[in-house]
């Protein structure tokens, strides 16, 4: 019995140390590749940046609009129900809902949606390029794959996410107003004046900063997962999963840190 436990313990130890070693090797290779990308000759792939930004922005537009609208309706409806029961506070509805949407709900939702949608696409495309040796082929024709594949995606998502967040805030706000109007028969002017009175514009800036950080997190995590795929498509599907879950987790952790410590 003792021998069996010793054997199990030893295999767990061996396996975990191997995993640890390969993880360190992968991270080391990834970091050194990024470092190489910062060195000349510099080539700017502006068309890649435009293509990636526009495609990821346009593709995520619908789902971001829907999720933000749903978040706006839900939060507004819940608050409106309480306001109706208490009979006071309708004049604060617009500002309150907007504050909630802009500071927390929309940036996080947009980050999570884009992590699932665009993040998985990044891992899949980079991973399949690794498997089919296209990344090495880029290097062999004097093209730094980090400059060509990573930087345009990084800058693209860091640009697109704030735009989607602003769009989400607008959609959530309109949907929130419609819910409040239905429950409380609130007028558009009351809603708008409440926003102007209570909402601080700095909160919107904070939300934009957050979404820029989220864009960087999604690109780095998803790209890393694709970059460290070796030779199997089965590994790729696992990496896509890990990439999405990892991006979402890091987004939530980063949001917590920024909310508590920075903003």
């Amino acid at each position: 019995m003792k021998k069996i436990f010793l054997h199990i313990g030893k295999s767990i130890q061996d396996q975990s140390s191997d995993l640890g070693k390969s993880a360190f090797k992968n991270i080391g290779n990834f970091v050194s590749s990024i470092w190489e990308g910062f060195h000349p000759p510099y080539k700017y792939y502006f068309s890649e940046f435009v293509y990636f930004s526009s495609s990821s922005g346009v593709n995520a537009f619908g789902i971001v609009a829907i999720t933000s609208a749903v978040a706006g309706v839900t939060s507004s409806y819940l608050i409106a129900e309480e306001v109706r029961r208490a009979g006071v506070g309708a004049e604060f509805m617009g500002g309150g809902v907007t504050q909630m949407l802009v500071t927390q709900l929309v940036p996080i939702l947009v980050g999570l949606v884009v992590a699932g949608r665009t993040g998985s696409a990044i891992t899949a495309s980079i991973g399949s390029m690794k498997i089919t040796e296209q990344v090495e082929a880029l290097k062999s024709i004097s093209t730094d794959p980090i400059q060509f594949l990573f930087f345009p995606r990084l800058l693209g998502l860091m640009t697109v996410l704030p735009c989607l967040t602003i769009l989400g805030c607008i959609m959530g706000n309109i949907a929130g107003y419609l819910a409040a109007e239905r429950v409380l028969h609130l007028s558009w002017s009351t809603w708008t004046f409440s926003i102007l009175d209570l909402f601080e514009i700095e909160k919107l800036y904070h939300s934009i900063y957050k979404s820029i950080v989220f864009g960087a997190i999604i690109t780095i995590v998803s790209f890393y997962q694709g970059w460290t795929v070796h030779q199997s498509s089965e590994e790729l599907s696992r990496r896509i999963q890990v990439g999405v879950v990892g991006s979402m987790t890091f987004i939530l952790i980063a949001n917590l840190i920024m909310t508590v410590l920075v903003f």
Binding site: S22, S32, A137, L138, K139, I141
Partner: protein, 255 residues
């Protein structure tokens, strides 16, 4: 031109090395690399090409280090090296023309030469008679066509050193012959070529030197005459240990 491989070690797992302090040097000519599957031939090719960092050791091109140099110099040296991949490794987001143009743009071929170069190169790899080949994507090409486009993409950049990773593996004899013919005609443009292949006719026809990799090191080497002698003869035992090992490997006997 000279390539020096110095004490190269590499392992996919930390505790398991497939290359173990491998040393070799080659001056102008064509080097063939033989060895069993998984012995590290393609890995060595990637390390020479600046595509894969070794765990230890270095590769020098004309005395200048690739892996112990600054990143900027490493990039500059790597520009002299072109690689032909086993399955072509074509960019699937571009068509055939796009693949060739991308390579020419990356390596600074003047834009006004692009069209004529593409025509010439598609002609030399025997793809000019296929209708609308320029606009075809990777998914619309056969394996042999993809390899020929991959070869053309490397040749348009006129590298001084060309590395071929099993260019004929998995092809039927006819397609294999045509690839060999194209490679032979391209060799005159480069100063050093290194070929990894299991095709002995190919190796004996083209390579001026051949090495055998076993247990992570170069275990045997010979010149063109040596390889041709082994192929033509039924003999497996030679006094020369290099020929002996190569002969046993080529004839499928335990070395």
């Amino acid at each position: 031109m000279k390539i020096e491989i110095e004490n190269i070690s590499f392992g996919h797992n930390i505790d398991e090395r497939i290359l173990d302090k491998l040393n070799y040097s080659i001056s102008d000519g064509v080097l063939g690399i033989l060895g069993q599957s998984g012995c590290g031939k393609s890995t060595l090719l990637r390390i020479i090409g600046g595509l894969l960092r070794p765990d230890e050791g270095d590769v020098k091109i004309n005395g200048e280090s690739i892996w112990k140099n600054t990143i900027v110099r490493k990039k500059a040296i790597s520009e002299k090296i072109g690689m032909v991949f086993q399955a072509g490794a074509l960019f699937d987001f571009l068509n055939v023309e796009g693949n060739l143009k991308f390579a020419m743009e990356a390596t600074g071929v003047p834009r006004k030469q692009w069209d004529s170069t593409i025509d010439r190169m598609l002609g030399s790899v025997g793809l000019d008679d296929i209708g609308n080949i320029r606009k075809r994507f990777v998914s619309q090409l056969s394996g042999g066509q993809a390899r020929r486009v991959g070869l053309a993409r490397t040749l348009v950049t006129s590298p001084e050193i060309i590395l071929f990773d099993e260019p004929t593996t998995g092809l039927d004899p006819q397609r294999s012959r045509s690839i060999i013919k194209i490679i032979k005609s391209s060799l005159s443009d480069s100063k050093i070529s290194i070929i990894v292949s299991h095709d002995m006719n190919f190796i004996s026809e083209i390579c001026t030197k051949t090495i055998l990799i076993e247990n992570g090191i170069v275990s045997a080497s010979t010149n063109k005459e040596g390889i041709q002698k082994i192929i033509k003869s039924k003999k497996t035992d030679y006094k020369d240990s290099n020929l002996n090992k190569l002969s046993k490997f080529i004839k499928g006997l335990p070395t």
